[in-house]
């Protein structure tokens, strides 16, 4: 089975609480409108789109933080679309997620070592302490940081803790949701280089959500372009950048400001 994920007609509707009337339920908005694609084992898939495109929602549906309202999602051949939380829980060590804002995704009152070891303990991994320290080594952070709190670390370090936590369980798949968006150029480069190395070393399959096409070009083997909840283009990276077929893809590419004053950027 070389397809890690098989997604068929995935749709997801969420209640729009900003338009909820005083009495009665909130009106529903369709965020994902029937998406179909596959993720091969070992691929690095880029998921791009503007705000409101549904890329974050898609990511959360893939790791079943959200339950799809229609269609199906299969992971390693198994249909996980409507499994209950109890049924999913043992599967969770196979797919992990790294969040965008480490200040929000790292519990501010837990130490770094505890943050990384907790998922290991939940899944009964032997010697979680050692595995956590190994994970720190893997992401290039000094072991002393295990005793610190998140707010004592820099932005780039915090993001690497998030990565360490995700890889510690040795999952098959990782979803990275805009993980370099808040970082300055140097920290971003460090994280991207790290990610490339980890994917190669650990044989990971990665889905990388981003709005930055330059980063996607660098990292991903295949790109999914989302616009208003639909896939407008699904192509290997080189092909997408050389010959973008969808108008929206072209719009995204044209909008990128290259660090080059001579770029014709009308």
């Amino acid at each position: 089975m070389s397809d890690l994920y098989a997604v068929r007609d995935l749709s997801l509707t969420l209640p729009d609480l900003t338009r909820k009337p005083l009495f009665g339920p909130a009106p529903h908005t369709e965020i994902l409108k029937g998406l179909s694609f596959t993720i091969r084992k070992g691929a690095i898939l880029g998921i791009v789109g503007g705000s409101g495109s549904g890329k974050s929602t898609l990511g959360r549906a893939l790791v079943r933080l959200l339950e799809p309202t229609g269609g199906s999602v299969s992971f390693e051949g198994r249909d996980i679309t409507h499994l209950t939380e109890g049924e999913i829980r043992p599967l969770r060590r196979r797919f992990q997620m790294i969040f965008q804002d480490p200040m929000s995704s790292l519990n501010p009152r837990h130490r770094v070592g505890q943050l990384i070891a907790a998922p290991l303990r939940l899944h009964g991994v032997a010697d979680p302490r050692k595995a956590a320290l190994d994970a720190l080594d893997h992401v290039g952070l000094p072991r002393e940081l295990a005793g610190r709190y998140p707010h004592e670390l820099s932005g780039g370090q915090r993001q690497r803790v998030g990565i360490a936590r995700a890889i510690a369980l040795k999952p098959a798949f990782i979803l990275a949701d805009e993980i370099v968006s808040g970082l300055d150029v140097s920290s971003q480069a460090q994280v991207l280089v790290l990610l490339e190395r980890l994917v190669a070393d650990l044989g990971l399959t990665l889905a990388f959500i981003s709005h930055d096409m330059s980063v996607v070009r660098r990292l991903c083997s295949r790109v999914l372009v989302l616009h208003r909840g639909e896939i407008v283009e699904d192509a290997p990276t080189a092909e997408l950048f050389a010959n973008p077929r969808a108008a929206y893809t072209r719009e995204l590419l044209d909008a990128i400001p290259l660090p080059d004053p001579d770029q014709s950027w009308a």
Partner: protein, 289 residues
């Protein structure tokens, strides 16, 4: 003709020798856009805040001179200082969500600049507010003027903030990472708009950003900052073609370019960091504060 001249500006945490800005010197000519680039925490925003007099309470100016249109701002009495800033300067902030008052409609928020600073009467200010929204290409300005901020998109809000900034015909604007919170397609529109407005009103501008791509589109010159110290100041063409400082070269090497995907993405090397840190420490030793 220089509109803003900053000479040896040092800023520190009140009551502490730790400096946040170290002997910063730069010049912005009338009608020119000068970029401030660097990592987070390098002090880029701090410079703009020092000029506008909106430094956080725990932070104070330790030494240096800020000359705006010939007048030494730090020597002026507080009231005159505020008057000058209010009359001739403006800010385009980073986050359009928090910069607008959520409980007031748009119209009074733009009109305030005209009625309070220029002393215009309400009807004239209202008319000008509609004109400004038109200038920033907002369709149906009347409807937008009557709306509340939460009813509008991020891009729309940023346009409104740009309109507000240019409302009183300022001679100088600080743009503090104005497109960081925006989508890439919206960012392009906003950057073009800023360029258009700045050229039309001939406003001098300090443009703070960490994105070298953005800098190359908007600025004519720039200063590169590390830990509050200017490590290189030059014009745009020179910076991108032949940057003088190792740190500048390292920043460029760390920036991904989609037209050149196989170029290796090199994080700023530790040797460069050490070298620039040594420069900073040397500067600190020579400083008596």
């Amino acid at each position: 003709m220089s509109y803003l001249t900053i000479t040896d500006l040092s800023v520190r945490l009140a009551g502490s020798p730790a400096r946040l800005l170290r002997d910063v010197s730069l010049t912005v000519k009338s009608g020119e856009v000068h970029g401030l680039v660097g990592e987070s925490g390098a002090g880029k925003s701090m410079i703009g805040k020092a000029v506008l007099g909106i430094l956080p309470r725990a932070v104070e100016i330790a030494s240096g001179r800020i000359e705006l249109d010939g007048a030494d701002l730090l020597q002026l009495p507080a009231k005159e200082h505020r008057r000058r800033i209010g009359r001739f300067c403006a800010l385009i902030p980073q986050d359009p969500l928090t910069a607008l008052n959520p409980s007031r409609r748009i119209a009074p928020q733009i009109m305030n600049r005209l009625t309070d600073i220029l002393g215009w009467e309400a009807s004239r200010a209202r008319k000008r507010a509609a004109e400004l929204l038109d200038e920033v290409h907002i369709p149906d300005p009347e409807r937008v003027l009557k709306s509340y901020p939460h009813e509008l998109s991020g891009g729309m809000r940023q346009r409104i903030l740009i309109a507000s900034a240019f409302a009183a015909e300022p001679k100088f604007i600080v743009a503090d990472e104005p497109t960081t919170a925006l989508d890439v397609t919206v960012q392009k529109q906003i950057l073009k708009l800023i360029r258009e407005m700045q050229a039309r009103h001939d406003t001098a501008m300090l443009f703070v950003t960490h994105d070298l791509g953005v800098v190359s589109k908007v600025c004519q010159s720039l200063s590169v900052l590390y830990a509050g110290k200017v490590v290189e100041a030059t014009d745009i063409a020179t910076f991108f073609r032949a940057p003088a400082h190792a740190y500048s070269r390292a920043l460029l090497a760390a920036t991904p370019k989609y037209t050149d995907p196989d170029a290796s993405l090199i994080p700023v090397p530790p040797t460069v960091i050490e070298a620039v840190r040594a420069e900073v420490e040397a500067a600190d030793e020579g400083w008596r504060g």
